[in-house]
């Protein structure tokens, strides 16, 4: 496979500094509404703060890939004597939990690093977290060309998982006839 140059975007999470304000959730949801900034709903955010205040756990987690099925084996971490929820660090939008799904349709959410036209200097959650919890870094790397599951495809896959291929295909055909 051919090698291509790719920009790797990283958000470093200094979780010890998080004060649990949820500004990142508010802003992410606002940015991804359409038109931009018109709708606020942290449940639609691609970053979620896992909070257990009395256990001193405030953990920002970003939405990653859509997972059609839940894992058979689960992880459960204890760090510095603090026991985290099952799957706490996992970024998947997965059937085992409500995290990273549109609250109404259940469609999976995924952090897109605030893709925008023209591109933004920094992702929104990074810009608005005034406590320096989220630190943005960029670098270039050579990677093998591969096929990435785009948002639309991820969404469709989840619909197919939920309703079956036939039903989804039928609906799309019907919709395209209406257009």
């Amino acid at each position: 496979m051919a090698k291509i140059k790719k920009k790797i975007k990283t958000i470093k999470v200094d979780a010890d500094k998080c004060n649990g304000c949820r500004t990142c959730e508010v802003v992410c949801s606002a940015f991804h509404s359409s038109p931009k900034w018109s709708v606020i709903n942290p449940a639609r955010s691609r970053i979620q703060i896992i909070r257990h205040p009395l256990k001193n756990i405030w953990l920002p987690v970003f939405a990653g890939e859509y997972a059609p099925a839940e894992c058979m084996g689960r992880d459960k971490y204890i760090i510095d004597g603090k026991e985290y929820d099952e799957c706490a660090f996992c970024r998947a939008s997965c059937p085992s939990r409500d995290l990273f799904k549109e609250p109404d349709s259940g469609l999976p959410l995924k952090c897109d690093m605030c893709e925008d036209d023209p591109p933004r200097e920094k992702p929104l959650c990074v810009e608005w977290c005034l406590n320096d919890v989220l630190i943005y870094e960029e670098r270039e790397e050579e990677v093998e060309e591969g096929v990435e599951m785009e948002d639309v495809e991820a969404g469709l896959t989840s619909m197919v998982d939920k309703y079956g291929l036939e039903k989804v295909a039928e609906t799309i055909t019907r919709m395209s006839q209406k257009e």
Binding site: C21, V26, I40, A43
Partner: protein, 662 residues
């Protein structure tokens, strides 16, 4: 489409279990904005003056505010309103935390409770699904403990829970409602909640809030962010650390407590200890605080972090709020911060007001020392031991009695004013720090301060921290410092205020009590109060606005932000008029319940040097400025100007305009 607000209230009749989602009149936003403003309107319309705190008709309203759920920084207050059992007036204690944002995302602006439940219940609001659930297994549980228990039993880690503890269950007049890292404390909301047999209200929401002009709104927030960053990097020079930054006083972060411990009065608001803050104390307190504070935490969507997660020795983790760190300790006259952390946790679990309660306990200790209360009052029973004789033990014991209304605690639970009258034998003389039957901050000073005189006397909140803030607490001795301070002061409503500040001296002719003059004081106090009223309608934290020197929120950006959020076309004059309307409606509501000019005065010993004539003149001047008659009642003309003719008619009908005044 409704912008910024959800347009729905939840009405719950506890007697019948009927739950209704009621659409609100969109016009109300134009006339009262939301939050405290629209809540006052509901109380005016539905709670007649005969209704007492523990009557079924007393409404208990949990309200979010206009800007809650939007990206507006520090918009996170929940305002709870009810007739207070202690004062008989409309109380409106507010709490920070996360509850009201969750309510808004669940699709409601307010939850309105009426009547009483026959059995103990808690309410579970999950978007459109609202349930009244059995709470019999939670009775007797602590207010913090209950929050966790409910989250666990619902399996909803993200639910926000406002709960009462044993004090609320026992209808203690100073019972609070606790939630996350905050509480709604002043005036006894916990007691009204307990009277209605509501143990807790849990809420989780995943719905949308709409902004009318999102782009503009975010531009405003960007401006504010710049200012917040600037202020974080540049604390105000010449101001004590605790007030030099933005946000509520960062009590968990700063370890220097020289100012509070030496300027405020210890015991039953009696003694100032001007040499308390020794090197030794400083070191020991710093050690305790740094070891115990595991993390600084914020409320919903606030960039500052004035709360702290505390793990102190064998005390289970809890979240400390603001000044509670000091109030019990100073009341008990214990010099060790360790005591403050230990008793605060127990008090939060009981669910009691951290301002009033320590003063009630200190009052009891004083009465005991004076022989008015005796060993009989401090005796044990088969349920509990007799009161220990050490300072710490005594406070814990008294707190236990008060929260459970046991023995002498049953009398103390009504607060200093009522307890003094029940106890008699001269106890009334020890009730020296209440206004309108409500315990005040533990401050006793020398020279009468005209600004504070007005604030103490006239605000409906009956709690000074809910009114002061934008004007420095004292004159700056140096002219150069004053010049530097006014140079960069965009928050002022008008430029001419600068001169007042420049001319204001700590001593001499242009100093307290004669300067600022009564006219100037009226303007300054009115400005500060107006800003608090805007905050309370929007439910923005006063720490980022009205209770902060040079705050991020002020009269010049508020109208733009509210307009962008709601689509209203508001200017400064328009916004002022709206909150003025709500403010006057609130006053009329309290007047109807018997509040009068005679009630409007600070405690007699608040200052050593008093000026009766000047004070009367201050009050009259302020009344006039506000458009109130000499009894402190809004005039018909004022009410007409504010489109409140229906209020004027009501006051007239009840014969409240006396001696030819209208």
């Amino acid at each position: 489409m409704r912008y910024a607000e959800t347009g729905y209230n939840l009405e719950i009749d506890l007697a019948t279990g009927n739950i209704e989602r009621v659409e609100t009149d969109p016009k109300l936003m134009e006339t009262h904005l939301g939050g405290l403003g629209t809540s006052v309107k509901i109380h005016w319309d539905r709670v007649p003056p005969e209704v007492k705190a523990f009557d079924p008709e007393n409404l208990l309203i949990f309200s979010s505010g206009l800007l809650i759920g939007t990206p507006a920084f520090s918009a996170n207050r929940t305002i709870v309103t009810f007739i207070s059992p202690q004062t008989g007036l409309l109380a409106y204690p507010m709490m920070g935390g996360f509850w009201s944002a969750e309510l808004k995302y669940a699709g409601y602006d307010k939850v309105i409770f009426r009547n009483k439940s026959p059995e103990w219940v808690y309410i579970w609001i999950n978007n459109d699904k609202v349930e009244i659930r059995d709470a019999s297994h939670l009775v007797g549980k602590g207010a913090l403990e209950t929050q966790e228990l409910i989250r666990n039993e619902l399996n909803q880690p993200n639910a926000q829970v406002a709960a009462i503890g044993p004090a609320g269950e026992n209808k203690v007049f100073v019972a609070s409602i606790e939630q996350s890292r905050s509480s709604s404390s002043r005036g006894g909301g916990g007691a009204v909640m307990g009277d209605k047999k509501i143990k807790a209200v849990a809420v989780r929401g995943t719905k949308d809030i709409y902004l009318a002009h999102g782009d503009e709104f975010m531009e405003q927030m960007k401006e504010m962010t710049k200012y917040i960053k600037f202020r974080n990097e540049n604390p105000l020079p010449g101001i004590m650390t605790i007030l030099s930054g933005i946000g509520s006083p960062a009590e968990m972060k700063h370890t220097d407590e020289k100012w509070h411990t030496e300027s405020f009065a210890w015991g039953n608001a009696r003694r100032r200890r001007k040499d308390f803050w020794t090197k030794e104390i400083e070191e020991s307190w710093k050690k305790t605080q740094l070891e115990s504070t595991k993390r600084l935490i914020s409320c919903f969507n606030c960039p500052t972090q004035c709360g702290g997660l505390i793990t102190h020795e064998d005390v289970p983790s809890y979240m400390m709020k603001c000044f509670s760190k000091l109030t019990y300790l100073m009341g008990a006259e214990v010099d060790d911060l360790d005591f403050g952390y230990k008793i605060a946790k127990r008090a939060f679990e009981y669910g009691v007001d951290s301002f009033s309660t320590p003063q009630i306990l200190a009052f009891a200790v004083e009465l005991y020392e004076a022989g008015i209360l005796t060993d009989k009052d401090f005796a044990g029973t088969d349920k509990y031991e007799a009161c220990p004789s050490d300072k710490r033990g005594r406070f814990f014991w008294l707190l236990d009695r008060l929260a459970h209304r046991e023995g002498i605690g049953d009398i103390l639970a009504d607060g200093v004013y009522w307890a003094a009258r029940k106890i008699g034998k001269g106890a009334e003389a020890y009730d020296h720090n209440t206004i309108k039957k409500h315990e005040q901050m533990n401050i006793k000073l020398g020279m009468m301060d005209p600004l504070y005189y007005l604030m103490y006397s006239t605000n409906e909140k009956i709690s000074i921290t809910q009114m002061e803030g934008n004007w420095p607490q004292a004159a700056f001795p140096n002219k150069e410092d004053r010049e530097a301070f006014v140079k960069d002061w965009p928050q002022l409503p008008d430029e001419h205020f600068k001169q007042y500040f420049l001319d204001w001296e700590p001593r001499g002719e242009k100093a307290n009590p004669y300067y600022p003059t009564a006219d100037m004081c009226s303007e300054i106090v009115d400005w500060m109060e107006m800003l608090h009223n805007i905050d309370d309608a929007c439910c923005v934290c006063a720490g980022m606005s009205s209770f902060c020197l040079k705050p991020p929120w002020h009269i010049h950006n508020y109208p733009k932000i509210i307009s962008a959020a709601t689509g209203l076309d508001l200017d400064e004059a328009g916004l002022k008029k709206i909150v003025n309307r709500s403010r006057n409606l609130h006053r009329a509501f309290n007047i109807r319940r018997g509040m009068s000019r005679a009630d409007e005065k600070p405690p007699e010993d608040h200052w050593k040097k008093r000026f009766p004539e000047l004070e009367e003149n201050l009050l009259s001047t302020y009344y006039k400025y506000k458009g109130w008659n000499m009894d402190g009642i809004p005039t018909k003309e004022k009410l007409h100007e504010l489109d409140l003719d229906y209020v004027a008619e009501d006051l007239e009908k009840r014969g409240l305009y006396k001696n030819g005044q209208d």
